[in-house]
Symmetry: C2
């Protein structure tokens, strides 16, 4: 049990203590703690890292305040489209799905892609058809938070100036301007409603674990971008960008402005630095966050190695996060 | 001009001299040479690596014997669905598309994603809608090779035992069995027609370049897998897996059994080895191919660095490939 470790995240971004209500903070902490408990029960009973990250992410997908599963944001046409990926550090096998609708636990479907098909990533109609053939649990549209319900929640918890947006995108550091929305921005000018800042708009959930056998696994799940169009696939569905696990190095799950994690191949970058530079997880993680910052990207990640070390670095104002080892346990939201 | 270099591929797999006809070999060589000429004219006129790889891949997309653009294979429902990606090593900006139909040059659309949207990867209906809004050139279904036409070509060039398949997948080296097709295999039992070995079934085309300014770029394009179902996305659409370019290291374009390139994050792995181990392109490329082989994957890649060094490694029987520098030029197909 000395090596056993579990870490989770529920998204990173502009999360400020000054704009959080005590009630909302309590809700977030409860959601993170419930997820940690789910995964830790599996790991402490000798279960696999793979099972632990899958079930931990299921718990996070059930929690309505994170942008994944039940709490997924709405696409331009008012639907929920979800992406998820999972990777087994023992075999390097992986599974992922993109644009899945009405599936209760997208991470379970990602695992089925890994175990039941010769493929790694299934997207769009094909992924939904696969979900039906696999018999996973489907839920009606009403299962997902409606805009109306979300606004109710906002009204209930916020003063008029509450700023919950943990997804504000900073100005790009250079190169192309990924902060300029293409048609979305045009649409926003026409439709003032879409200007409402959505506190879930770039959130993601994820889990990484080291089990008693020293096996690593990583899992990530998201409800995508609010009002997204054009079939944008982010880093969450992509092995190497948003998710990576390899027993020789580490397991990583990312959250933030996905395009920068794709350019930076961020999840794999942590592993590559450890293996090819021979440095430890903490040093590699710090260097990878520096690279992300240099690219102009905002966000963070969680990672574990086979010694049970845990890191939870980010360059944003905050990141919903938590971890548990044999001796320590913590749930945090803000930078300090 | 001393640094200027261009390399291309048209797919890797079981390509044996013993089963090739002189006519067909001549056709393949002509296709590769035409593509090299296209890119070299741009580079030698002082054009950018980005323009060179885009136009070189357009040339390969127009060539009917490679599985990309015009030569794309057919999905289960008899359509052509194409993936492509492009990356600018100067800025690390990138663009990619998946499941695009009736677009003449998918690589041009990938570049438009990079330059005209805040996203990197657009897939399925959204990508097709984006193509329409961008006004790219569309072609009717008849533009793509029909099965009938393909069979005609087969009959014309082959003896009864010709084995052109450059996509036979070897037994997996371990871990999960990615050689067992899920529903595809069931379908094949029901439909003997789909058992016909298609010489294009896992092919890809790609180009990498270093321009006179020392900027790198990489581009990859594919027509996907024959008879594919379930919306499988392969490595060609994925930055880090099938395509990567960074001026500090190298530009890489991969071809082969995509899932292994996704697990191995193969394109970025070459760059990471160079940067984090401080080794040269040739050594890094050899190590990355060894890793691919260890994972059980078959295929290869092309890569250039900013000194104009070129490598074209593969672990399969052959790879359609070519390169050109100020002093050298070569087009090759077989291992030896």
């Amino acid at each position: 049990m000395t090596k056993v470790a579990l870490a989770i995240h529920g998204g990173a971004g502009t999360i400020l203590r000054s704009t959080m209500t005590p009630e909302l903070e309590r809700e977030y902490r409860a959601g993170l703690e419930a997820a940690l408990k789910t995964g830790w029960e599996i790991l402490s009973a000798g279960g696999s890292a793979l099972d632990a990250v899958e079930q931990t992410v299921c718990s996070l997908e059930d929690f309505p305040l994170f942008n994944a599963g039940r709490g997924s944001v709405f696409t331009h046409d008012g639907k929920n489209e979800m992406d998820a990926s999972i990777m087994d550090g023992r075999t390097l096998d992986a599974g992922a799905i993109a644009f899945v609708r009405n599936v209760k636990h997208p991470i379970e479907l990602a695992r089925l892609v890994m175990e039941k098909t010769p493929h790694i990533l299934l997207a769009a109609e094909g992924a939904n058809q696969f979900a039906k053939e696999m018999g996973v649990e489907f839920v009606p549209d009403e299962y997902f938070l409606t805009e109306h319900r979300w606004q109710q929640l906002q009204d209930a918890i916020a003063s008029g100036t509450v700023e919950l947006d943990h997804a504000a995108i900073p100005a790009s550091a250079g190169g192309s301007d990924r902060t300029t929305e293409y048609t979305e921005s045009t649409e926003q000018e026409r439709n003032p409603k879409s200007k409402i800042r959505n506190p879930k708009s770039l959130g993601t959930v994820g889990a990484v674990a080291c089990d008693a056998s020293g096996n690593l696994a990583a899992a990530t799940s998201t409800g995508g971008m609010t009002n997204k169009k054009f079939g944008r696939v982010g880093d969450t569905a992509l092995i190497g960008a948003g998710t990576y696990a390899e027993n020789a190095t580490c397991a990583v799950s990312c959250t933030g402005h996905g395009e920068f994690f794709m350019m930076g191949v961020t999840a794999y970058d942590v592993s590559a630095r450890m293996k090819y530079r021979g440095i430890d997880l903490e040093t590699a993680a710090r260097q990878t966050i520096e690279r992300l910052t240099d690219l102009g990207g905002e966000g963070g990640f969680i990672a574990v190695d086979t010694s049970g070390n845990v890191v939870l670095p980010f360059n944003s104002e905050g990141m919903y996060r938590g971890y548990k080892t044999k001796d320590e346990s913590s749930v945090d939201i803000y930078r300090d």
